[in-house]
Symmetry: C2
Subunit: 315 residues, 2 copies
Amino acid sequence: ATGDGDGKNTKKPVADPGSEAGSMLAGFQTEKIMRESSREKNIFIHGKMGSGPNEGQDAVLILEKTPFREDSLAELFKTSELKLQMRNDIYSTYHMHPPAHLNDIKATVVCPATEKHIKKYQSQELFLIQESGEDYRNITLPYIQEQSFSVQWVYNILEKKAEADRIVFEDPDPQNGFVLLPDFKWDQKQLDDLYLIAICHQREIKSLRDLTREHLPLLQNIQQQGQEAIMKRYSVPSCRLRVYLHYQPSYYHLHVHFTVLGYEAPGCGVERAHLLSDVIQNLQTDTQHYRTRTLTYPLRADDALLHKLREAGRF
Amino acid sequence: ATGDGDGKNTKKPVADPGSEAGSMLAGFQTEKIMRESSREKNIFIHGKMGSGPNEGQDAVLILEKTPFREDSLAELFKTSELKLQMRNDIYSTYHMHPPAHLNDIKATVVCPATEKHIKKYQSQELFLIQESGEDYRNITLPYIQEQSFSVQWVYNILEKKAEADRIVFEDPDPQNGFVLLPDFKWDQKQLDDLYLIAICHQREIKSLRDLTREHLPLLQNIQQQGQEAIMKRYSVPSCRLRVYLHYQPSYYHLHVHFTVLGYEAPGCGVERAHLLSDVIQNLQTDTQHYRTRTLTYPLRADDALLHKLREAGRF
């Protein structure tokens, strides 16, 4: 949901399917539509609960239409009412009204919601940054250093202190080795949204910006052994895999994304993703490529780095 | 729907909202699920009509959940049944059952559907191609030339024989000039999916592969004047615009895509899109960049170019 491609989410809710809620949203008062997607058929609403134990409290309400289920299609056809909307030659469109139980909506309520929760779901304007090599050294690098973002959870994985059972492949070499494991967004139940992450054992590489020709063996190793391991475990060949880095990454320890072609993974857009095969070619041509090039990337309006760049008059 | 980013669609269906269709799908026999997206909540089904004038005929049925409508939210809250699914701390999720008229499905029927229609909607596996400069000259370029794809519709636009009223901006210079107009996928009703195309007046540039340093004035002109024109007409500043080329393009006459950041336009993924700002930097560094580099791109399983590459043992 963060669009990061590799955020961690450890919250494990407890199911409680027996309870009833009836019409607890009946008096819900909408204050603001925070975000909506007509493509994904969802909407994020900030409002106040109208009845029940949380009456008058701030809430975030997330509504999302549910996917079609193959096993209920026959019943859907049998029991739905159709209204013709338009007809032209062999094409016709209809409004279809299925019975309620075949067409539910998933509703998520966060209540009481604090300012922070509300901010989290608020859609933020994005700004495209053109960061020169100099901008990186003068603004971005000092910002990363002063924030000293923790990557302890990454070290826990590399040291097998956490998620050891999730590891799909490991090359333990301290220089060119890496660990390959499923991204948290992938539930591993189907291959259409296959998403794995390779995390290198070397701890000194923050991002694309640190890469030089000396890292070519590491990068080539991740590409080749990562692809082979995915073929072996999931039978997905390399010609079906999109292999790329993010810049900016969501954490500053070098990692590589493997997603299946045809799955529009969050963060695989041209404004943030860099194909590993292009990175390798660029470094082969010029070892200074990622130190000197102007790199383009998006930042959210509330990103502290955006404010740093703005203060420096670079935006 | 083709995922091209710039396909043409001239079919204009005639509305006929008065008619009723009742339960015409009641006996629909599913033969195959051709494609489905749980993210977009749609499904494409091949089957046979069960009743009515087209009984027994092949049909393609497309079902899609509809987006939420802000103006009916209050009624939705008031009239929907909720069933608690799980609760954990401040988070709870529900199954929500709204009355049918607040939750319709858009159904599209293509009937009778020929083999060709069915093939069109069938999801095709994608393959990632690594095309060297040599592959381009030996396989791809001869293929493009022997196909002699028509770009007459592009010339019609450039000569004002078609779509003249849609032009947002023009620089008539024959060398560095271009025409800017909305892409057909953008209905221009809202800015969240803003999508424009710049088509250059020069007719000799087929794609990225033909670009050299001599084209820098053209490319810089498209970037600068295109961004200015979009700011002037739509008040969307350049830091909100993703400006890129496709490789492979869907037609072989140089054109540049302008889409708004935050809109995941089809074809803006790293495996097909090339940021214009990167293209300019690459050519500034090396005039031969796009003649010599290995370029990565996806092809559908049924693409004739894929078969050519396979015949040549390159895949």
